[in-house]
Amino acid sequence: MTKNGFRQIHPDSSTNASNDAPVDASNDESALIAAAQHGDREAFNQLVVHYQSLAYNVAYRVLGDGAAAADATQDAFISAYRAIPRFRGGSFKAWIMRIVTNACYDQLRVKQRRPTTSLDADPDLERQEWNVDPGERPEAYVVRQELGAIIQRGLATLPTEQRACVILSDIQGMSYDEIAETMDSSLGTVKSRLNRGRRKLRDYLTQHGELLPARYRLYDETAGAGGLAHLFALWEVDGALIVLRRGVDRYE
């Protein structure tokens, strides 16, 4: 379970081969930022390549719509390029994500005006879009697809700020400080939004537990101790506990 930033960068996500090199060290990042602040678009685009997966995934989870998420992401990076001379240090990640979330809010407003699409993810779309982890077995892949679709529906039930908080924290693994900076709010606000958002999402997921893949269910009425172990597995190192999960599945 990776908690640091986004978990995967797709090698083919960039069309520009020269931009593929990930930005590893913060030194590199600050150098790129400094260059971008002086109008170096190439430097800025290296930052884009580094952050676009995070940005797009957050936008997708907030908006529940691939096209709108792509628009929001693109708008955000263009805005960021224009605004970067005014970047005054601090967490660049939070700064960029703030622009992204604001772009998402703009998209949501557009959507409210023309409420033709729902926040619910289109299951078919999701199925096509889910990333295939090369190391992931096909069944596991399918299961995760289902999970993603249900999570998306649950997220759609949350108020926007709570949704954004939950996404930044629990899907993207950002720290409280980064989230507070991203959302321009206090730590206390972040905590309370997270608390309410998680509980609300929990309510949704438990109410729709039957839609969840078996291995993700909270506790099956039938599972007993197995369910608890399963929970434990989810919470702890999942690699070591896959076996346990399998056992639970079989038990169920």
């Binding site: 990076f77 263009i78 899907i171 998680r198 929970l231």
Partner: protein, 379 residues
């Protein structure tokens, strides 16, 4: 597992519930953490809650990552082609300019009307027809003007759009309220808002009106209420109210045309005919029926501005309430607001609203020109 917590536990229970999420993330202070921990040991419900939150967190962490559908690299073309994000602000600036123009024109309009009234060379002044209704065209202005202005004769049908204004010119003396009463009691017509849709404010008769009181007091009440509310409704928060030429009493704000979307241009200058005996009964009928009563939100908005101008008279307070109650006086209901001002709406409506205001400004400008031209021609 669900045992109701004992009384002694309830406060601790609530305390813990609020913090379980942060507890999960290790974001509590040592003290908070200890207290939550102690409660968890004693409360199976909270343990279950914690477990379910942890479970939720686990699911979220397992949410698959979506591949980026395309590269979001910023190209030169992206910067050159003005994306909507950039285009809008520019457009907004132009709109703001038009809005400012509208506000300015509204002020000019009031000045022109006031000038006419003051000078008193109204061809029409003599003929006072049954003042059908008071036409308050401009809501805001009405407040200011009304207080001092004496209602002269105004009888036009409220449709300002028709531009019948030449007839309207009422001679109201702004400055000296005392004098005014003597003058013909007919309602003064305010020309102000001629814009087609929204601007015209139907005259609303305050409750007070029905009783024809020879005395002054009634007037202030009438004027202020109707106007303010409508004007407000249309415009967003800051309604620039064009002030009449130095009315003593009027606290009216100067018209500020703000660039902000909020900036409203109130087209309507209402000059309310003060209540003269004759007038009072009718006014209600006059206003145009077409317009729907303002939505509650609008009223709220409107209400705020109305208050400010009024301070002079006691009665004003009552007046404010009037607009809200459609039933009163009959007149009230027909307030003409152009398109019912959308309640604070998302940006889309915003834009539409601002465009409407800008359009209104243009129409106002035309109206002023028409009035001036008619005056000149009339002489």
């Amino acid at each position: 597992m669900s045992r109701p917590p004992s009384q002694s536990q309830t406060s601790g229970h609530r305390y813990a519930l609020k913090r379980l999420s942060s507890y999960l993330d290790g974001q509590l202070s040592a003290r908070e953490r200890a207290r939550v921990q102690a409660h968890l040991d004693a409360c199976p419900d909270c343990r279950a809650e914690l477990r379910s939150l942890r479970w939720t967190q686990g699911l979220l962490a397992d949410t698959p990552v979506l591949p980026v559908p395309r590269s979001f690299i910023v190209r030169q073309a992206d910067l050159e082609a003005a994306p909507t994000a950039r285009a809008l602000p520019r457009f907004g600036r132009a709109l703001a300019g038009l809005q400012a123009v509208a506000a300015l024109v509204a002020v000019l309009l009031v000045l022109v009307i006031a000038g006419d009234l003051y000078i008193g060379n109204n061809p029409l002044a003599g003929r006072s027809e049954p003042p059908i209704a008071m036409l308050e065209i401009k809501a805001q202005e009405a407040d200011t003007v009304a207080a001092q202005a004496v209602p002269v004769d105004g009888q036009e049908p409220p449709n300002l759009e028709t531009m019948q204004q030449p007839e309207k010119q009422p001679e109201a003396v702004f400055s000296a309220p005392t004098d005014t009463p003597t003058t013909q009691p007919t309602a003064a017509v305010a020309v102000g808002a001629a814009t087609a849709t929204a601007p015209t404010a139907a005259s609303v008769q305050p409750t007070a009106t029905p009783e024809p009181t020879p005395t002054w007091t009634p007037r202030p009440t009438h004027t202020s209420t109707p106007v303010g509310s409508r004007a407000e409704g249309t415009s967003t928060q800051n309604s620039p109210t064009p002030t009449a030429p130095e009315p003593e009493a009027t606290p009216t704000p100067e018209p500020r045309a703000t660039v902000e979307p909020t900036a409203t241009i109130e087209p309507t200058a209402t000059i309310e005919p003060t209540a003269t005996d004759t007038l009072t009964p009718e006014p209600t009928a006059t206003t145009e029926p077409t317009e729907p009563p303002p939505t509650p939100e609008q009223r709220k908005l409107a209400a705020a501005p109305t208050d400010a101008p009024k301070p002079e008279r006691e009665e004003s307070v009552q007046i404010e309430s009037v607009p809200e109650e459609p039933g009163q006086g009959g007149a009230v209901p027909d307030e003409t607001l152009a398109p019912p001002p959308p309640p604070p709406a998302p940006e889309g409506r915003w834009l539409g609203w601002r465009i409407a205001q800008a359009t209104l400004g243009v129409m106002l400008a035309g109206l002023v020109l028409a009035i001036v031209w008619l005056r000149i021609k009339g002489r």
